[in-house]
């Protein structure tokens, strides 16, 4: 298993939408390299014939009747918004300029 590099951390931070500072990148790269090496131990035991387990409960398709029930009002839902306009979340521009 290849070790995690500073560039890997920068790429993953971009995927995770966290703008890390140069210092943070340096520090995290060193720590994550160690951690990734250590968690890689899972490859020592997990054989091909072992089924993966994603959850403790064997649940599939838990459903409920599709009935109208009381829900939050628009005001309640927007109460924690950094910015709201006309009963909507107001967000910074989502398209490139021009």
């Amino acid at each position: 298993m290849s070790a995690i590099t500073r560039d890997d951390v920068a790429h993953v931070a971009m995927l995770a939408r966290i703008s890390l500072s140069e210092d943070e990148l340096d520090r995290l790269a060193g720590q994550l390299d160690q951690i990734v090496d250590w968690v890689g131990q899972v490859n020592q035991v997990a054989a091909a014939d072992v089924p993966p387990m994603s959850h403790p409960l064997p649940l599939t398709n838990v459903t409920r009747p599709d009935e109208v029930r009381p829900a939050l009002t628009a005001e309640q839902a927007l109460a924690g918004a950094p910015e709201a306009e006309q009963q909507r979340f107001a967000v910074p521009r989502i398209l490139d300029e021009d």
Partner: protein, 529 residues
Amino acid sequence: MTETTTPAAGEELTRLTAAAMADRLTAGELTSEQLVHAHLDRIERLNPVLNAYLRVDAEGALATAREVDAARAGGEQLPRLAGVPVAVKDIACTEGLVTTAGSRMLAAWVPPYDATVVRRLREARMPILGKTNMDEFAMGSSTEHSAFGPTRNPWDLDRIPGGSGGGSSAAVAAYLAPLAIGSDTGGSIRQPAAVTGTVGAKPTYGGVSRYGVIALASSLDQIGPCARTVTDAALLHEVIGGHDPMDSTSIDAPVPPVLEAAGTRDLTGLRVGIVSELTGEGYQPDVQARFDEAVAQLREAGAEVVEVSCPHFRYALPAYYLILPSEASSNLARYDAMRYGLRVHPEGVDRPSAEQVMAASRDAGFGDEVKRRIILGTYALSAGYYEAYYGQAQKVRTLIARDFEAAFEQVDVLISPTAPTTAFRIGDKAEDPMAMYRNDIATIPANLAGVPGLSVPAGIAGDGLPVGVQLLAPATSDERMYAVGAALEARLAAQWGGSGSVLDRAPDVSALVDAFATTASSADREVTA
């Protein structure tokens, strides 16, 4: 009856068990308002140093208390714990009361609804004293990763109270609340209980609704009770447990009879298994000694004790530190600075895009440990690595669940120390994330498999700090760990004398806090001079 109590009488009230508080309330010897006042007074005095509560809701707690007192005076039939105050970890949403999960990201966020667990406390008519401190988004074993400062252990103010639920454990241990709600993803209820001399239970996965609880790792998270006695934990467990249609992973079956089990004293015929992989090397010698004594007590109570092997438990930590960050990186994607929480504009950008605002906000809003785990999880899930890391970790999870199945064919309950050491010093592991992770070695297997676990005090180590032992039971058989925990607690209480609580031997926290405050202010004076 007067509504005011002398300070000394108030102190006495806070030392009662929740069960005794409930009995005195029912008997009319005490009002809920007196109880709430007694706790608020103590919180006001000790919390500035302990930092167990992030927010105190005096007004809300007193309003509930007065309603309960009026209802009782009017002859109304009330739930058993009506009027008994409770603290809630700041991970469970409280309508109208700021809920931060210990993060700058949610520093000012007021939830628009109650978590089911909070709703159940309200239905049980329990005054909610406030919200307790925690590691940011429950990532940590020390509460040092809270954005709002660490919580101090009431046994020694330079030590950690465990984590992530160190606020709840410290509040209960320092008599700032008789009961508290915790959440346990890898040990965050059990390990804090162990290092503060209190009791903490992680129910079977799905045993308590997660609806309205801020998610860390959805397949591991479980809500549970923090208390000073096994019976008190069982009382709170029965209030919060049971099916909730709002949580699709909630078990649709009655709550296991944990309160009845907490009355158990005789363990004749019960088979207890010591997990070989969770003792010996790596465990502080006097933690091991208290554990061995607890096992001897169980034998004397009639239990048959054998050693069992769970060979894959040694891979539990690496598997957990892939599964948890993977799920967390996905769950924490919701903090996008668009709909709620912190929004920060990047410096030096004239008209930033939503994506730039998102990235700047997540950098400013998340602390180091949260960033570390999000990056690790994103890496483990990314193209080319998924099979080697997350996929393999899920297979290890199967092997650990199989180890539990095999063990529970031989024994009824498993036992181990809850944590490998007593409380470490604040700052000791701050620069070494892996040393911090290793602290959860004994508690993590239960979360991976979804089985219940209970930590009960087992005595005090040579360093004067408390030690806990952990009991593990098969899924949906939570009552078994309560039965063994209660029998052990009763035998140790008889041996220790006094009230029977290990907390009797804790130093006087008021004196510690006064001394701490004096030192801190003289240090300030030196700095100013």
